[in-house]
C-alpha cells in the first residue's frame, strides 16, 4: 500500500487516434511542471499515477498540478493490489470523524474483477455501516464520497478527496499563437484562456517610451511571468511604438487615431507571428467595451491581417474578466497605475463605427510598411519561463 496522486484528465477521451499524442504531451507538461520535485509518473488506462514524491510536499505539488491544462482533477489516493478483502479493510479503516452521511462510488475499469461496480458499491457500503453504525448512506447529498477505482494495472485506488484542476487541453496540443499583451486586465486573461485550449503563447507588447514609463514595461513582464505559470514558456516581443504613435498623431484624424494604431499593431503582430511560425493572433477584446472594441472597429482592425484572430473574452462582461483575472493571479498587477501604450495620445472622441475605406484613406499619409518593418526590426525579445 502506498500514497499516490491519481490524476484525471478530461476531454482527452474524445480525441480518438490523437489520444496518445495528447497524453504524452500532458505527461511532458506535468513532468516539466514538477521538475523541482523528485517523483515518478506512470500511465494506466485513463489515469496518470504520480508516486515517489516527498509527502511533505504533497500540497505544493497539488497546487502545481492545478496549473497544468488537460488535468481535471487530482486525488490523493491509497494504492494497493487489487483484492476484495484488501479493499474492504481499507474502506473500513478510513477516517469518518465528523461525517454523518456517505456514499461509495466505484469505477471498475478492470472488467476481470469479479464484482460489478454496483455490487462493489453495496458490499463496501455494508462494510462501512458495520464498522460505523451511526453513519447513513445518502446518494445525493453525502458528507463524504468514498471513491474506489479498480484499474487495469492490477491496482485499486481509494480516495475521498478530489482537487479540481484547470481542465482544458494539454499546452501545445493546439499549436502556437501570438498574444497582444497590454498592461490591462483583459489580455492576460485572454492568454490564459487560449492556453487552456492547448495553444502555446508568445506575446507582443507595445510601449511608447518616453510617453509611457519603464515601470509600465516591467508591469507587462510581470504579467507575462504570472500567466507563464499556466501558459509555459513565453517569448515576449517588446516593440517600440513611439514613432508610430507620433506619426499617427501628426498625420491622421484624431478620431481615427486609435483605429489606425490598432491596425498597425495588428500588422506588426502578424509579421511577428509569421516570422515565428505562430498560427493565430490572440487579443483581449470584449465586444463593446470601448470604442475600439465595437463590431465595426474590430472589422476595420481585423481587415489588415489574414491569420485567424482569437478573442476568447469577446462575450465576457468586465466583471467576469476581472473575476477570472483574480483567480489566475494577474488582477493585482493589472491594476497597477502605470499607463500602457493606448492611453497616451487618447483622443477625446474616438470613432465608434469606423470604416475600412476611411482608415485606408487616412493611412495613405503614412509609410505603413516602413513603420511596421522598423518596429519589428527593433523588437526586443525576452524569454519568460515560470512554468
Amino acid at each position: 500500500m502506498k500514497k499516490v496522486l491519481l490524476l484525471k484528465f478530461g476531454e482527452l477521451f474524445l480525441k480518438g487516434r490523437n489520444r496518445h499524442d495528447f497524453i504524452s504531451r500532458l505527461k511532458n507538461n506535468i513532468l516539466r511542471k514538477l521538475t523541482a520535485f523528485s517523483c515518478k509518473l506512470e500511465e494506466t488506462q485513463g489515469r496518470l499515477i504520480l508516486s515517489g514524491y516527498d509527502e511533505a510536499q504533497e500540497g505544493i505539488i497539488i497546487e502545481k498540478l492545478q496549473q497544468v491544462f488537460g488535468l481535471i482533477g487530482v486525488a490523493d489516493a491509497l494504492e494497493f493490489e487489487t483484492s476484495l478483502e484488501e479493499t474492504k479493510k481499507r474502506v473500513a479503516g478510513l477516517n469518518f470523524s465528523g461525517v454523518r452521511t456517505f456514499k461509495i462510488e466505484t469505477k471498475r475499469a478492470d472488467k476481470n474483477f469479479p464484482l460489478t461496480s454496483m455490487e462493489l458499491d453495496k458490499e463496501l457500503g455494508a462494510v462501512v455501516l458495520d464498522a460505523h453504525p451511526n453513519l447513513k448512506v445518502d446518494l445525493y447529498e453525502s458528507d463524504m464520497v468514498v471513491t474506489v477505482e479498480v484499474r487495469t494495472n492490477g491496482k485499486t485506488y481509494l480516495y475521498n478527496k478530489l482537487h479540481l484542476c484547470a481542465g482544458g487541453l494539454p499546452l501545445g496540443s493546439a499549436g502556437k499563437g501570438l498574444l497582444l499583451l497590454s498592461g490591462g486586465i483583459d489580455s492576460p486573461v485572454a492568454g490564459y484562456l487560449m492556453a487552456k485550449r492547448g495553444l502555446e503563447i508568445e506575446a507582443v507588447h507595445f510601449h511608447s517610451y518616453p510617453y509611457t514609463s519603464p515601470q509600465a514595461k516591467e508591469k507587462v513582464i510581470e504579467l507575462a511571468k504570472e500567466i507563464s505559470s499556466y501558459c509555459g514558456k513565453i517569448r515576449l516581443h517588446i516593440v517600440s511604438f513611439t514613432e508610430i504613435q507620433e506619426q499617427i498623431h501628426k498625420n491622421c484624424d484624431e478620431e481615427y487615431m486609435i483605429t489606425i494604431m490598432r491596425r498597425i499593431m495588428m500588422r506588426i503582430a502578424e509579421k511577428i507571428a509569421r516570422a515565428n511560425d505562430l498560427g493565430a493572433i490572440v487579443t483581449g477584446e470584449s465586444l463593446g467595451q470601448v470604442a475600439s472594441q465595437t463590431m465595426q472597429s474590430m472589422n476595420v482592425t481585423n481587415s489588415v491581417v489574414s491569420l485567424p484572430v482569437f478573442r476568447p473574452v469577446i462575450a465576457f462582461d468586465k466583471e467576469e474578466i476581472m473575476a477570472l483575472a483574480r483567480k489566475i493571479g494577474t488582477y493585482e498587477t493589472s491594476i497597477l497605475p502605470y499607463e500602457d501604450c493606448c492611453t497616451v495620445f487618447l483622443p477625446k472622441n474616438p470613432v465608434i463605427k469606423p470604416t475600412v475605406k476611411r482608415a485606408e484613406f487616412l493611412e495613405t499619409s503614412l509609410d505603413i510598411d516602413a513603420l511596421v518593418s522598423q518596429a519589428v526590426n527593433n523588437e526586443e525579445i525576452l524569454t519568460i519561463d515560470e512554468f
Binding site: Y209, P210, Y211, E246, P337, E339, V344
Partner: protein, 385 residues
Amino acid sequence: MIYLDNASTTKMFDECAEIHKEFSCNQFFNPSALSGGALQVSKLIADAEKYVLSRLGASEGNILFTGCATESNNLAIRGSLRSGNWEYVFSAGEHPSVFNLAKKLEQEDFVVHFVPLAKNGQVDLECLSNVLNERTRLISIMHVSNETGVINDLQKISALKKTKCPRAILHVDGVQGFLKIPFALRDTAIDLYSFSGHKFHAPKGIAGLYVKNKGGLKELFEGGGQQFGLRSGTENVSGIMQMRKAIELIDEKANFERTKEIKRLFNETLLSAGARTFGEGVSVEKCILINDYCGSPYIETLIFQGVKGETMLHALDAVGVVVGLGSACSSKKAGNRVLEEIGLEKETIVSSARISFNAYMSNDEVITGAQIISKVFQDILQRVS
C-alpha cells in the same frame, strides 16, 4: 546625472558612511545593554537628542528616533487620539502619510475636519479659524508642501491655536521644512514635529519626532520600553549618529540663501529659453513656472503645457536629468490631489512636474539642467503637436 528630485530623497553625505561603519562595526553595542560600550552609545544617543533639539530651536521637549517620517506622523497622530467628544483637524494638502491616516480615522468614526488650501497653496487660515474650537484635540498641518513647496505660516497657525483651542495638540509634518526653512520651534506653539533624515543628506531608515510633552503621547506598539516607552525597539544607533552628523554639516541659513540663488538661476535660465512665469495671476503659455511667492526655494512645480509631466520625466531621465512628479504616492492616474486643491485644471495638473534642489549644486549643473529641460520640452512639443 543632474539630480533635480531632492524632495524625494537626497544624496547622502560621504561623512555619514564613515559614521555608519564606526557604529556598525566598532561601537555596535545595544544601547540598552549593561556594558561600558553600551553605556557609551546610550550617552551618544542622549547627546544627539539634545543636539537635534537645539537645531530645532526647541527650549523643551524630547526627540523620538523613528524609522521614517510616515512612522513619525502615525505616532504623532495615532498617539494623540483620545476617546470622547474630540475633533481632529487636518489640512487638505497633507502628505499621504497624514492624509490617508486622517481618512482612516474618519472611517473609524473620529470627527475629522479637512481644511482647504487657499489659491496660493497655503492652508486657508480663515477656514482653519472657523473649524477650531474647544473640542479640537489635534491640528496637523505640514510645514512645507512636498508637492508645491508652499510654506505654511506656522506662527499664524500657532496664534490661532492659542486663541481658539489652547489645549489642542499642534502637529507639524516638517519633512520638507527642517534644515531647509530657517525657523525655531520656540517661536511657535508646535507640540509635535516630524522630520526625516534622507531628505537632508542622512541615510534612509532614520527619522524623528519632536515631542514637547511626552506625557500627552501614547505609543503605537508594545515592546522593551526604549525611548520613554513611546517607541520600543532597539535604537538605530548608526542611523541616529549619521543623522546627527548630517545636521552638523548643514548650515540652514546659508543653504536657504544659496538655494534661493539656485532657484533664481534655474528660473532665469528657463525664462530666457522661452518659459513664461505664472503666479499671482500672470498669464501662462507653454512651459510655465508656478512662481510660489510663499514657497520654499527647494521646491517648484513646472507646468509643461501640451506635454504630460510623466512624459517629460522619462524623456529627461533618458538624457540624465532626474525630476519628480510630486509625491510618489499621489502621482497616480487619479491626478494630483494637492494641485487640484489649489484650483489647477486637470489638464494643467497632468502637465506638471516637480523640480527640487539641494544647496550643494553647482551653477553649471543648475544652468545645464534648465537648458536640457527647455530643449527636451521643445523637442517633445514638436513631436506631439
